[in-house]
Amino acid sequence: MVQPMLLVHWKQARLLLIPFIVAGFGLPLLAVQGFGGVGDDRAVSMEAYRFLTSYQVWLPYFPMLAGAVGGVLALTSWNWDHQLGHVYALSLPVARWEYAMLKMGAGAALVLVPVAALWVGAHVASASVALPEGIRAYPNQLAFRFFAATMISYALFFAMAAGTIRTTVWIVSTVMALVIGGNLLVVVLEPYVPALDDVNVVQTVLGWLLRAGGPFAVFTGNWALIDV
């Protein structure tokens, strides 16, 4: 059952996935564009500094790409079933949880395709530049972080997409309302309540989600391919 399920998911997702595969391969290469060789000690340290600051510009694109890949794979995994009212899935002799797990597994396997593209791209990028002394490349770590972030995004969107559109809209609008409402409240109350930032619930929750140890910390961690 796994192989046919994988084929079905691949057929649904492949056209959308191809740009992400290209991006996964190309992003590390773009990030190291323009880095040349090094000269004396002073030049080495300057080059290393320029190297790292230049690379910083590209950092946000890695987690964004991971989030997008996970989202696309999750949404495409349920797309046909939603369109067909789940009638086909429900007529198959397989428990609902098992069917959902098969779908999830197929999508998780497909996550490996853009991850592999990024891994290859990161290795090619690392090999294509002469790194200044004190600077090292971490293509495997970058690929693993990309994999972890993509899986988290995939799992989150998969769970949301598995429900009805009504449920998804309800969840998204509730989260949006909380974020917007919370921020508006802060703006309105700030003149009257001193140190309001300390009790800002939205900021506190976001901080908890994104800080080290939080469920989405992988998105905000160190995405450096090149580092000291």
């Binding site: 046919p4 057929k11 789940h86 009638v87 002799p93 397989v94 428990a95």
Partner: protein, 303 residues
């Protein structure tokens, strides 16, 4: 096991006000059961309930002697289903869809699936999105049959198909049934089709089963009688009067639509001083219409 499908006092209601009320249905094992009813009468909802797709609010549902929805996985392994609307993935090819479907069924007969594919003239490389309505119908039937089901559930399987394809589809289903003795539950608007192939019939209207009986009884038991001088409130009638209509023109002639009629019942009219002028056979479609008319509130012109 006497019944392949058993629904007892099933109730179900939707948000929009439609409901099934105390639905009881018995589909004898080995029968070809025709399920009739106007649009919106609840046929597809009934099918979805015993297929485990929606859960009844109340009542008992059993398919192939197993409870629904508790044993749904093992039930569905023995049920071939052709839904009202195509439900398969449009981007797959015919061959890919067959392989995908077969991976879920342990009893899948690969050789027979291939034989059916050739017989139904389906190209394995053809994309499902590009299949005609007839080809899609054939593919759905192939998928349902090649899993060797004990129960075949066909929800409007020939709707919109041309007569040639319709004949191919029904012939394939009937060949399977004659070889295996499987039960067929077929919901259709095409009365003449059902009249030809079914041995049991169930009629549904407004969320209720209004009749369920052998086809022969259904066809022969409902008659149109032309009666003269009938009393206003006759007593001791040995058959069921579904409706009484005054005939146009002069005289005291009436048309009675009756159920459970037998020739020996002619004497009844003599006993009440009436005259039976004629007994007219109804075909399935006329019987169906009269049955529905009688189960609904009376309209002007009827008593």
């Amino acid at each position: 096991m006497n019944n392949a499908i058993e629904l007892t006092d099933v109730c179900w209601s939707a948000d929009k006000g439609f409901e099934l009320r105390d639905l009881t249905l018995r589909v004898p094992t080995g029968s070809i059961y025709g399920f009739l009813g106007p649009n919106g009468s609840g046929k597809t909802t009934t099918i979805r309930i015993f297929m485990g797709m929606i859960e009844a609010d109340r009542g008992d549902v059993r398919v192939l002697d197993r409870p629904v929805p508790a044993d749904m996985t093992s039930i569905l392994a023995r049920v071939g289903y052709v839904p009202e609307r195509p439900h398969i993935y449009p981007a797959l090819t015919v061959g890919e869809q067959i392989r995908y479907h077969s991976s879920f069924f342990r009893l899948w007969d690969r050789g027979w699936a291939e034989e059916l594919r050739k017989r139904l003239d389906l190209d394995p490389g053809q994309k499902i999105a590009r299949l005609s309505k007839g080809e899609t119908g054939k593919l759905l039937l192939l998928l349902a049959l090649a899993q060797r089901p004990a129960l075949l559930v066909l929800d409007e399987p020939t709707e919109g198909l041309d007569p040639v394809v319709r004949r191919d589809v029904l012939a394939a289903a009937l060949d399977y049934v004659s070889d295996t003795g499987a039960t067929v539950f077929i919901s259709s608007h095409l009365m003449h089709e059902l009249e030809r192939i079914c041995d049991w019939v169930g009629v549904m209207d407004h969320g209720q089963v209004v009749a369920e009986l052998p086809m022969q009884l259904f066809k022969n038991g409902i008659k149109r009688l032309r009666v003269a001088d009938a009393p206003d409130a006759p007593k001791g009638i040995p058959f069921t009067v579904l409706s009484r209509l005054h005939e146009n023109g002069a005289g005291s002639g009436e048309t009675w639509i009756v159920r459970g009629w037998e020739p020996s019942m002619r004497h009844y009219f003599d006993s009440v001083g009436a005259t039976l002028r004629d007994v007219i056979d109804l075909d399935l479609e006329e019987s169906f219409v009269e049955l529905l008319r009688s189960s609904r509130p009376p309209t002007s012109g009827s008593r």
